[in-house]
Amino acid sequence: MLSSHIAQLVFDDRRVAYAIADRDLAVTAVGGVLELFGAAPPRLGGSLLDLVPELIGNEAVLADIWAGRLPRFQLAWINRDKPTGQTAYLNLVLLPYRDDAGTVRSLAYLIEETNETSALTQQLAQSRNELRLAQRQLERRHQQLDALHQAAATLLTTLELDSLLVHVLAAAATALPNAEQGLVVLRDVATGAVATRAAWHVRDPQVCAPILARLDDPSAALCKPLVISDLRASAQCANCASVGDCLIQSAMRVPLLSDEHLWGWLVLAATRRAAFAESDLDLLESFAAMASAAIANAHLHAEIQRVAITDELTRIYNRRGLFDLGQREFNRARRHGAPLAAILFDLDRLKVINDTFGHAAGDQLLIQVATRAQRELRAEDIFARYGGDEFVVLLPGTGLDSARQIAERLRHVIAALQVDHATHLINTTASFGVAALDPTCLDVDALLTRADRAHYVAKQSGKNRVWLWQ
């Protein structure tokens, strides 16, 4: 009777097997495709657990079935190794078999092999998982490119170097989420001295000391990127006294290079070991290239600014520099009621010198006058070539009388100057006009006009003298 029930479940074209077991789990009947039971050959009287190892340790399930609490226990996609080494995928069903009174008398155990669909499912699951992994890599790449894009966009919007470097650091840290701290360390191209120029989340100034150690050592391989996975074990930090106190455990350092200049280094650090992989270096180098471009741009910008306000011949300020800086100084003096004076002077014999010795001699004289006069002035004084052989000095914090004394000193210095040109000693004198700021003087142009008028009087009065505007 029972077998006929089971037999109804076994179709000719399906790979199905069954077993019946009594309350002691002893097998009382088996049938179907017996090889599906696996390595243990089914035998009458043997234990059902030999056929269904999935029930071992799962006594709770068996107890629930016998008690009638579990009408059916089903597992899909059970993997079993075939003798051929392949995997069989099986659906298992365990269900109670009741007598006419409804009492559970036996357990029926059915197996169905699902290999045909499992191959497709396997491929599907595999492909889906691989797609997810690829998608994740793409997302990460996208995130990195986005950070690079943002850093590049910042590069295009400002020439302010400090702001740019902080942006590049923050963008690099976004793209490399293991980074906890970052630094841009710049190197003085002339002296080789190094100094931190930008910092990101650096909590303790000492933390990066070992990473920055030896940066001024010319023998170090400073132009190569570096990954330190374990700071304390790193040869880089072997001789660094502060390595014991350093909170940093791992770091990356890439050089900032452009046009064969080593501008400095971009450093990212973390407080745990092995935070960075060698593969992270490529990305950090992209950010370093941006930082290098920013630094090179900033240097170029500074150079252009310097050229724009510098007299090419004498290397002192030109007229533009005089008015840019002079108006600022004038405004400050007006606002604070501070004294400010202007000296305007020109050379008394330049035309004669040019006509006699040539313009090269005149140029040389201008250079020497500017150089010598500069030595007599303070760092805060604004000294400019006003045009031709005319020079202007703006003297912050200086009243009329002090300005007169300075003008006299300059007059003496210039008169004593002798320029050696082609076996000739050239000398000259200069005439000076001096004016000081007062409430009626509304801008730097007005102040210079007054100094020019005084200078005119000095010229008219016999040259080589100082005249005050009053």
Binding site: Q74, T121, Q122, Q126, E130, L133, S229
Partner: protein, 170 residues
């Protein structure tokens, strides 16, 4: 003594590799998604004060794919313990640990759970650090192990400690 334990975790975190290392002392680099469940058997000797006890662990290696989520409860039924696996090189695999634990405990409320932070040999690719794992383990009031199925690091220890806990719970 026989106990059923389950391995849970996202796809490709190394559940099958951990089982292969533990049961057969083998490792294979090739990634093949597990479909459904593979049940393996391993016998351990658990030391006790009087005499060591033989414990047969029925290790259920469950598919990490989402398509098996709906049938996962029947796989979990009757388990005395679980190892929830995350991948140290994929931060998102840590995020799911608490959800796996909740699922597991909803079926087996008194079962013991341990965390395996796998692939600890791939130090160059870490996205998860030890304090992060410790934080999750503390929230679940359980222990964690930094394992490597490839190198065998801590694999035996992990299962031995789980076995010990299961025996002590009896």
């Amino acid at each position: 003594m026989q106990k059923k334990i389950c391995l849970l975790g996202d796809f490709a975190v190394g559940k099958t590799s951990l089982v292969r290392r533990f049961v057969y002392d083998l490792f294979d680099d090739q990634y093949i998604s597990t479909i459904g469940v593979k049940v393996s058997r391993k016998t351990l000797w658990i030391p006790r004060a009087d005499a060591p006890i033989e414990l047969t662990l029925m290790v259920w290696d469950l598919a990490g794919s989402e398509e098996f989520n709906t049938v996962r409860a029947s796989y979990l039924r009757g388990a005395a313990g679980a190892v929830i696996v995350c991948d140290l090189t994929r931060a998102e695999t840590l995020e799911g640990i608490e959800a796996y634990a909740a699922d597991f405990w909803s079926v087996n409320p008194r079962a013991r759970v341990l965390i395996a932070a796998n692939k600890c040999d791939l130090t160059d690719h870490f996205e998860v650090n030890t304090p992060q794992i410790a934080h999750v383990a503390a929230r679940l009031q359980t222990d964690y192990y930094l394992t490597s199925a490839r190198a065998g690091d801590q694999v035996e220890t992990l299962f031995q400690h789980l076995g010990q806990a299961l025996v002590e719970a009896c």
